[in-house]
């Protein structure tokens, strides 16, 4: 059945520069991202009607984070600001909230804020126990990292791959990272393929996401009427969907609670499939229409599994898809043209979803310069949180109004 929602247009977006000093408070990076984003528009602060903010630790420790952020940005008193704590794809959930506020027709201008600040936890490693906090009773000291390695090993074992797909993936991402001015790796030397394909701890690190430190993003979404009123040329519309898996990793295996998840274990991503199915329907596209895919790739195999989940290649074929060069420019589906996790690091809620979305917008706007996918009309951005227990998939379309 056709659901009646309004179209939602991305008006502007911004991510903070890397390299904040350690004494930077979270309010400072929040303000920086917001002003950078608002400055690209003709809107004023008073025009923001609603918003949502994602910030893992503060959402846990400060009950009224929405108010804290609205106050810090000087937003109007009537502006609602809902806090989200949804692990690394919290940014996607904040977008999901604001998208619905606008799609419902109640509001015309909404703000999506995300932030990750080096307060207590400086790196993804130190954050590990928090990521599993929701089910800590039974997790007994396991982290994203353990999950991610078990998952990659199982995928390799199940579908018969060595490390080369991951090495190839990271090589392409390293190349893209050198073409992306905002990337951590920008301007650095390119690692050799021998380094990237080494079967060792160093090799694993070379193939994994880097760290970035304090990061905030801001995105302003508007309704289709507001976009017309503002006279936006070539508007980018967005669609977003969400699905989850049980937070306890053991329950990822042949999960009996949902018939569509029964055939799968951690070597596949059924939540991405579910979310993708819904968002493709909303956006009226098929996987073949996707010109550029931006996926959450803290390791190469994770990105490969995401491509399979998005339907861009068949399940189990992701490794061969990558080895055939299909994720590079000129391939069937250029992927992570900003360099993904290698370029932007694992900032968790800070920007793990947003960098993917922003790169998608740049590609559709034709502003991706050296890494531009020619004639890109449809981009898909994806991120997950807490060992793939929740997945966000977003579709961005050009010329959709």
């Amino acid at each position: 059945m056709e659901k009646k929602t309004k179209k939602v247009v991305v008006l502007s977006f911004a991510i903070t520069d890397r390299g904040y000093p350690y004494d930077t408070p979270w309010r400072k990076i929040t303000v920086d991202a917001f002003t950078k984003c608002l400055g690209q528009t003709r809107l004023r602060v008073e025009d923001i009607e609603c918003g949502s903010v994602a910030y893992n630790e503060r959402t846990i420790s400060e009950a009224a984070l929405g108010t804290q952020v609205a106050d810090c940005l000087g937003l109007p008193m009537k502006c609602s600001m809902t806090p989200v704590s949804h692990a690394c794809c919290g940014g996607g959930m904040a977008l999901y909230n604001v998208w619905h506020y606008i799609a419902s027709g109640r509001y015309d201008v909404g703000l999506v804020m995300t932030m990750q600040c080096s307060d207590l936890f400086d790196s993804m490693e130190a954050m590990n126990p928090i990521g599993n906090h929701s089910d800590y009773d039974y997790m007994l000291g396991f982290s994203h990292v353990e999950y991610s390695y078990l998952r990659d090993y199982l995928y390799r074992e199940k579908y018969g791959y060595d490390v080369t797909p991951s090495a190839k993936w990271s090589q392409i991402c390293h190349k893209f990272a050198r073409l992306t001015p905002g990337a951590t790796e920008y301007g650095k030397d390119m690692p050799s393929y021998a380094d990237l394909s080494a079967v060792s701890d160093e090799g694993e690190r070379a193939r994994s996401a880097t760290a970035r430190g304090s990061t905030a993003t801001a995105t302003i979404l508007v309704s289709e009427e507001k976009a017309r009123e503002l006279g936006i040329v070539d508007p980018i519309t967005c669609y977003v969907s969400y699905a989850f898996r049980p937070p306890y990793i053991g329950n990822h295996f042949f999960y009996a609670g949902d018939p569509s998840y029964v055939p799968f274990d951690i070597a596949e991503q059924p939540a991405i499939m579910e979310a993708a199915k819904e968002v493709y329907r909303d956006a009226k596209i098929t996987p073949e229409d996707i010109d550029v895919a931006l996926v959450h790739d803290l390791s190469g195999f994770e990105g490969i599994m995401s491509l399979e989940g998005l339907g861009i290649c068949p399940i189990g074929q992701g490794g061969n898809f990558v080895l055939a060069g299909n994720t590079d420019l000129g391939g069937k589906c250029p992927t992570n043209t900003h360099g993904g996790g290698i370029a932007y690091g694992h900032t968790s809620v800070g920007s793990d979803f947003q960098i993917n979305m922003f790169e998608g917008i740049l590609q559709l706007q034709g502003k991706a310069y050296g890494r531009q996918v020619e004639g890109a009309k449809v981009a898909v951005a994806q991120a997950y949180g807490t060992h793939h227990s929740l997945d966000i998939v977003s579709v961005l379309k050009k010329g959709d109004l």
Binding site: L120, F121, D122, S123, E125, A126
Partner: protein
């Protein structure tokens, strides 16, 4: 008559070579080290303590007995290195094993003799009809409570032994138990202190004055009451914190040391506290297939006194499956370097206020 229905043992996998410790400290002549028969000892992993060792031996014991955990109506945990100073560790074990809530559960703490005391209490509970099946878990991690550089570091080790006592399906009947007690503070640790203290040195007769004096009294009482002599016992398990201690004990009760030496295990495990003699007893039970074999088990708790227990096997012992229990555990080992031993036994001071593993 009441007696042992089943037994289980658990010994940590890690070991340290006495020479490895000696290379670092050289605090005793190597000759004495060899004379005392200290070759290697067990080391607990960073995640092990008397409760985890006790849980493992108890599970093995219940498995050997082949009974439901709901049939156990008594649990006595015997240890001198209980992690809890106030509450009972036995209740943790009760939950781990899934025993019923109406089970009688308590701790016994009486130095190395704790295990014998627990057996005495369990036997009384059974003989009086209060309980039908009582699980005695003796477990100690002396190794975690001996300071680095202390001479007893060569011997202090960890291990556990569980015995299920009752009247049905008994494999070894307990004929009698006799005790002798006196306060002889040659081994103690005060509340709040980290490490055990030997009150009377380590080498020679002086360190074992309690052992020699006390054993004579309890043995005399036992021999008189039961009309027995040491020669009546084919198998003897003696106190064996170090191997030389079992020789001294044999002198005290005037038995042939060679009826005890084959069953001494502390050469390869070290001193496992309250579990040591009981593991040696299990080692003896492993070897017996017939009824009417006489076993003598002698326990000594430094600072507390001694215990003597006489057992007679029943024909049921021949049908116990999955034996031997002790020897495979002695053989399953991994040697550790001394630095790692110190880390695993938590003898290296660390920052307790860290935000994460890094800071």
């Amino acid at each position: 008559m009441s007696g042992i229905i089943a037994y289980g043992v658990s010994i940590p996998k890690y070991r340290v070579d006495a020479n490895e410790i000696w290379d670092v400290w050289k605090n005793v002549s190597k000759e004495i080290l060899q004379k005392m028969g200290m070759k290697e000892r067990t080391v607990t992993g960073p995640d092990e303590d008397p409760i985890t060792l006790g849980a493992e031996s108890a599970r093995r014991c219940l498995k050997q007995a082949g009974i439901s955990e709901k049939d156990v109506d008594g649990l006595i945990f015997a240890s001198e290195t209980n992690p809890y100073a106030t509450k009972a560790a036995a209740t943790v074990l009760q939950d781990i094993l899934g025993l019923k809530k109406t089970c009688f559960v308590t701790d016994v703490q009486n130095s190395h003799r704790s295990g014998f005391d627990a057996i005495r209490i369990a036997k009384s509970l059974i003989d009086s009809g209060t309980c039908r099946k009582v699980l005695v878990i003796a477990a100690d991690c002396l190794n975690q409570y001996i300071s680095p550089g202390h001479v007893y570091e060569y011997a202090a080790a960890a291990g556990s032994c569980s015995l299920l006592l009752g009247t049905e399906g008994v494999i070894a009947e307990i004929d009698d138990m006799r005790f002798a007690s006196e306060d002889k503070p040659n081994w103690y640790r005060l509340t709040g202190e980290r490490f055990l203290q030997l009150g009377a040195g380590f080498v020679g007769y002086i360190s074992n004055w309690g052992l020699m004096d006390s054993l004579k009294v309890s043995w005399a009482d036992f021999a008189k009451a039961n009309g027995v002599a040491p020669e009546d016992y084919e198998f003897i398990a003696l106190p064996q914190g170090t191997v030389v201690q079992s020789f001294m004990s044999s002198g005290a009760i005037k038995c042939d040391p060679y009826s005890a030496i084959p069953y001494v295990i502390s050469e390869s495990t070290g001193d496992m506290g309250s579990a040591t003699v009981l593991v040696s007893l299990c080692n003896i039970l492993d070897l017996i297939d017939d009824g009417d074999k006489k076993i003598l088990a002698v326990g000594y708790g430094w600072g507390d006194g001694s215990a003597v227990m006489g057992l007679t096997t029943t024909p049921a012992i021949g049908s116990v499956e999955n034996r031997p229990v002790v020897i495979p555990l002695l053989e399953n080992k991994e040697m550790l370097p001394y630095a790692k031993v110190l880390k695993y036994e938590k003898k290296i001071d660390r920052n307790t206020k860290g935000l994460s593993s890094y800071y």
